[in-house]
């Protein structure tokens, strides 16, 4: 489902974000991607989401290659790979339902199906009661749930999460993690970047990949 083949990413002024990283995440796996700040976690997610291209090597996601997917075709990848961020990135001034509906609309959902599908997605993340609330009326945990519902709008095969609990308290964090596990249980790959070791320890069933200064230094699957 996700493959990185000798991927390096070097930014200008010779800043090495990733160096010769190779990994494979098969279908249905739940993966924690961990490491200190600046280890390359966000860069790896960005490359998988094709928000950027590797300096060398190849990223393959759900049949699409970074070396063969043009800028105009990136939207195809994005519909197979959902992503959520630490800062939620919801549209202010629109309700939870409208935020999710927006994603459904832009991905070609027929108009009359948008509302019911958005409601189902909000229900899936436990936010039916808050459909009419705007982001500033929601807690951090609730906003992240809306962001997750939006990421699921195109029924992706992969869900990326970049420090999704970074701005949340412990209770909200547990709730979001539980939600990710539920999503993973449906067969979707979940790849979550986090530096929270407590979080990782609380889910021993998950695979753990560790980056350090852009290199892959630990893979729990190989350690077994």
């Amino acid at each position: 489902m996700i493959k990185l083949l000798d991927v390096s990413k070097i930014y200008s002024r010779n800043t090495v974000a990733l160096e010769d990283v190779s990994l494979h995440v098969p279908k249905g796996q739940f993966v924690f991607l961990t490491g200190h700040s600046g280890s390359g976690k966000s860069t790896a997610l960005r490359l998988i989401h094709m928000g950027d291209r590797p300096t060398s090597g190849e990223v393959r996601v759900s049949g699409f290659s970074s070396n063969r997917t043009s800028e105009r075709e990136v939207w195809k990848v994005r519909r197979r790979v959902g992503i959520v961020f630490q800062d939620f990135r919801l549209l202010p001034g629109r309700t939870a339902l409208e935020n999710v509906g927006f994603a459904l609309e832009v991905t070609g959902t027929p108009r009359k199906e948008i509302r019911p599908r958005a409601q189902r997605l909000l229900s899936q993340v436990g936010l039916s009661a808050k459909a009419g609330s705007q982001p500033h009326e929601l807690s951090g945990g609730e906003q992240q749930r809306v962001a997750i519902a939006r990421a699921l709008a195109s029924s992706p095969l992969v869900l990326l999460a970049d420090e999704p609990t970074g701005n949340l308290d412990e209770r909200a964090t547990r709730g979001i993690l539980k939600l990710f596990w539920e999503i993973n249980a449906t067969g979707m790959v979940v790849l979550m970047a986090t530096h929270d070791l407590e979080l990782i320890r609380s889910y021993p069933g998950a695979r753990v990949l560790e980056l350090d200064q852009g290199r892959l230094v630990y893979d729990s699957r190989e350690a077994e």
């Binding site: 928000g51 800028e71 105009r72 990136v74 939207w75 195809k76 990848v77 994005r78 519909r79 959902g82 992503i83 990135r89 549209l91 202010p92 001034g93 927006f102 994603a103 832009v106 991905t107 939006r150 990421a151 709008a153 195109s154």
Partner: protein
């Protein structure tokens, strides 16, 4: 396309103040261009009116034979650029003089001999009222042995054509300058409007919207803003025209083709500016 139009209208409703300001900026920029067009058109008309008075007069000798004059008339009529050649008899010349200058009437009645010569008045076709044509005809007329003198107000004709050239160069230069300024103002107004929605563009890219899906509503919005601004400019220009016409002096309104060109220009620059602004944000995710 219908969805894009709906989205464009919805965007207007979501941010009416920003949209209005954008349209206002576009309108004011085009208004300046509209005033310039109004001034240019009226200057052009004024020059044309003066140019219509450009003519060559060949004064005939007393002993000019009618058959020679008739032949000469035909030759002059066939010259390129000549619209008409009119024979003015001595009697007709006297009649004109006494009509146009009443003070002559009294003194001319005391004269035994009509002092005014017969003449050939040569008028030029529109588009041929230029130095070369005038000089060519004057030279041709001077060749006739029965022509005493040829006059065409050389000095003021030279000045007129010089003024026309200067006017044309100035109009083109200033027109381009105003158009560039208007284009920049329109581009800035549209960019501000698109910038205000860059989060939406970002999210659309994030969740997998196609480029065309993202761009189309913005292009339509750009066209609508350009059209609104163009309409506002038209209203302001027309209002200025009416004020000047009623309170200062007579002023012609510009041709419909110029109005349509102005509106089309507003739409074109609106679309172009939108396209460039959206393109920038499409590359960010």
């Amino acid at each position: 396309m219908a969805n894009s139009a709906k989205e464009a209208v919805a965007a207007f409703r979501r941010a009416p103040l920003l949209t209005s300001l954008s349209a206002l900026m576009v309108g004011l920029a085009l208004f300046v261009l509209g005033l310039f067009a109004l001034a240019t058109y009226n200057l052009q008309m004024a020059l044309r009116t003066v140019e219509e008075r450009v003519e060559v007069v060949a004064y005939l000798r007393e002993d000019a034979r009618p058959v020679d004059v008739e032949a000469g008339l035909q030759i002059l009529r066939d010259l390129p650029g000549v619209e008409a050649v009119l024979y003015v008899s001595k009697e007709r010349a006297l009649e004109r003089a006494t009509t146009e200058l009443p003070e002559i009437a009294e003194s001319s009645s005391a004269l035994e001999v009509n002092p005014f010569p017969a003449s050939l008045e040569i008028r030029f076709a529109p588009g041929s009222r230029n130095e070369e044509a005038v000089e060519e005809v004057a030279s041709a007329a001077e060749e006739f042995p029965y022509v005493e003198d040829v006059r065409y107000g050389r000095e003021w004709v030279d000045r007129l054509f010089f003024l026309r050239q200067i006017g044309a160069i100035t109009a083109i230069t200033l027109g381009i300058a105003f158009a560039v300024v208007a284009a920049l103002i329109i581009a800035t107004a549209i960019r501000i409007a698109v910038y205000a929605r860059k989060d939406e563009i970002y999210i659309m890219r994030l969740v997998g919207a196609k480029h065309g899906f993202i761009r189309r509503p913005f292009l339509l919005e750009g066209a609508m803003t350009g059209l609104l601004g163009g309409g506002l400019a038209l209203l302001l220009t027309w209002g200025t025209h009416q004020l000047v016409f009623h309170f200062l002096f007579e002023l012609d309104w510009v041709p419909v083709s110029w109005v349509l060109l102005g509106l089309a220009g507003g739409v074109f620059f609106g679309v172009l500016a939108s396209s460039l602004a959206v393109h920038r944000y499409l590359r960010e995710v």
